[in-house]
């Protein structure tokens, strides 16, 4: 793949939304959802749980995780690379905004350009990290990203003169949009709407990418790297692009989150964040953009609303109960393992990914039959009838 074709692949999806019907469908769908959700939560029983403003704030936070899940899906779902330090890019985006717009740095750059800057900075770090490791096998990428995800918060923690260590950078300016004005803490609506807009744009772009030459190259690498390379795909560049684009989405989410929370500190970006996003992607269905978006929404709701609500409900009934919130990561871990064992394609599978995951098992059975050892086969009649 020559550089020009790559640039074409990157630019084309950006222009494409004006041509395709699906993009219009996504815009309409997202607009409908964005409009309906605020009313849905005023209806019993959802209205009993928390007020509309709290719900909207929660949806905005869920949106951050949905953005992260869509980004990680490019890396894990489309290109088949395991990134275990995804929160690092989230952190880099957030700290970029903290430098761009806070009293600590003395800068006050506007929000929208900073979104792009945050994405670019995160993508740059993605390339820096990916370049040495993507030549090696996927497993190495997993452990290197795990390390990177661990190091980035440590660096932000230890480089006190630049980051104020544990305290983090506070007083970050809220977005100030040209026609609207400055966002405030009391009104969740602007954040909610901006998040919906960002999410819509990103989902359309990722869809277009997935269908582009680049997207097909990602899937080819995911399914068989050797065959992909033999077909003329530059595997290193293609993987690097997946990694950089995934990182840039996290950077975007980081900028948004920093502007919403108005503070960044190292403890916001620990391994639990990377793990949660991975669980969202696996649960939703690796490779399926709607699947992972829904997966993120569901897990975030479980984490932020359901477990707390369980505590409240039990307290109201004055029943003895464990603190359900404490069990959230244990639940996520169990969900991840059982999902991989029982339904590796996720709750909302992408057809191609599903075929691939089950085809691998079939191939395994053939190999086993070849060498004549019968006890290895995990032959499951339901998976042998793959739709083609």
């Amino acid at each position: 793949m020559n550089p020009l074709a790559l640039i074409g692949d990157l630019v084309r999806p950006a222009l494409a939304p004006f041509r395709g019907h699906r993009s219009i469908a996504i815009v309409v769908g997202m607009a409908l959802l964005t409009a309906l959700l605020p009313f849905a939560v005023t209806v019993w029983p959802l209205s009993e749980v928390q007020g509309q403003k709290v719900w909207l704030d929660g949806f905005t936070n869920a949106g951050v995780f949905m953005l992260l899940a869509v980004g990680l899906n490019i890396v894990v779902g489309l290109a088949g690379l395991l990134d275990l330090g995804y929160a690092a890019f989230f952190a880099i985006g957030a700290y970029t905004y903290a430098y761009g717009a806070s009293p600590f740095s003395g800068n006050d750059f506007p929000f929208l350009p900073m979104l792009v800057v945050g994405a670019i900075v995160a993508a740059t770090f993605g390339v820096l990290l990916g370049a040495p490791t993507l030549r090696l096998r996927g497993d190495y990428l997993a452990i290197v990203t795990l390390g990177f995800g661990e190091i980035v918060p440590i660096v932000f923690l230890n480089a006190e003169p630049f980051t104020q260590g544990t305290n983090g950078i506070g007083g970050i300016y809220k977005p100030d949009l040209p026609l609207y004005g400055t966002f405030t803490l009391l009104n969740p609506w602007p954040f909610y709407l901006v998040m919906a807009a960002i999410l819509t744009v990103v989902i359309i772009l990722v869809y277009k990418l997935g269908d582009s030459r680049l997207g097909r190259a990602w899937m080819a690498i995911r399914e068989d790297e050797l065959a992909a390379a033999a077909s003329g795909i530059n595997t290193v560049t293609t993987k690097l692009l997946a990694f950089a684009l995934g990182a840039s989405t996290a950077g975007l989410a980081g900028v948004f989150n920093a502007s919403k929370l108005t503070i960044v500190s190292p403890d916001q970006f620990l391994f639990t964040v990377s793990f949660t996003v991975l669980a969202m992607v696996v649960l939703g269905g690796m490779g399926n953009i709607w699947g992972v978006t829904l997966g993120a929404f569901i897990l975030y709701t479980i984490q932020a609303v359901l477990l707390k609500q369980l505590n409240t409900t039990f307290e109201n009934l004055s029943l003895p109960h464990p603190n359900f919130v404490q069990y959230q990561f244990l639940l996520f871990g169990l969900a991840l393992v059982f999902m991989m064992i029982l339904r590796p394609e996720g709750l909302f599978p992408s057809q191609r990914r599903k075929r691939e995951l089950h085809a691998a098992e079939e191939l395994g059975d053939e190999e086993v039959a070849m060498v004549g050892a019968d006890e290895l086969g995990n032959a499951d009649p339901s998976t042998s009838e793959v739709e083609l």
Partner: protein, 410 residues
Amino acid sequence: MTAVAEPVDTTGRRFPQWAVLLVASLVGIVLFTLVLAAFTTGGLVTATQQTANALSLGAIYALVALGYTMVYGIIELINFAHGDVFMLGAFMAMTFLTAGFGAVPGGEGATTTGIIVGVAALGGLGFFLGWGLISGLGIRRALPRVIAMAAVVLSVGAIEIGVGQSGAITDPVLLTALLIPTFVVAMVIMAAINVTIERLAYRPFRHASRLAPLITAVGVSFILQNIVQLWQGTGDRGSPQVFPLIKFELLGAQVNVLNLFILILALAIMAGLQTFVGRTRLGRAMRSTAQDQQAAQLMGVDLNQTISITFLIGGALAGAAGVFQGLYFGYVRFDLGFNAGLKAFTSAVLGGIGNLTGAVLGGFVIGFVEVFAGAIGQQRWSQAVVFVVLILVLLFRPSGILGQQLGDRA
């Protein structure tokens, strides 16, 4: 494909590999001490003590790294949960040395309810792990089954009861009588846990895509961490340092006997492993499986059993390392395994993944790196330095110090 242990190849060399390694290690230790003496204010005396610390730390990392490298060598899986197996081993030793399960949650003496809950929970756990061990190893005859189950259940039971120690024991006979069961119990349980993990979480993916077992491994790691967090809380838990603080003089420096104990015992365990892998029938099965699974199967190697034995040994080594952790540092923590796992994996890569000697060498090098960072007052950066080492190795020599050139398979 990487081999678990290359047979000693002396053709075309003037000296056997072990002699080269021995001389190189001694030179390395002396050089490290001199460098430390040059960079720190304490001079040669402090440097000698620091070197002793580095050797203990390195021995712990090496034991954990062996588990990574063996599993990677045989099924090419980075077992993310291995660091947490080490952490769990440290908790098992801690629980055994203190007053057992019933007393631990509250920190007070054992209560009746605590004992009943403990017996029920750990009894269930014992049978579950016993089943995992038997099923994983595919033990079919009655007597070995009974022995395996009894070993696991008794070990879990021993942890349940505990020995109620809190301080150092000066009587050498009593100390030996205490340390032997501590090691046995921690190693047996961690071996059973590791085999059970492989049986339940990795074996179903033997023929699935490469991504699947990696993801479950991360999930298992998270589950283990969270179980311990719910069980023991998030803070440091004191682990009884039963080994007395005896020092002997070396080059004018006061060196703790515990350092020597850890180093010698760890090296003995490693030598035992090398002999097992190099000389026994099962070791030969492991090496042939690492080279070519299908060919090994055709030659009559039981693939499942061989892989389970690899996990068994890896778990036992991690259990031993866990005991050392408690004895040496005097504390255990639920998230210990994350960093230790990362460092041990770096050790394995540094030495050449799949290579047993390399993992040991890498473990000691990482131990030195960390102690050096601490000695020059930059302890907080040690994790970052180790990570940079990992990146540099992957950049310039992905096959590690002792590994052969393997191209993209690395």
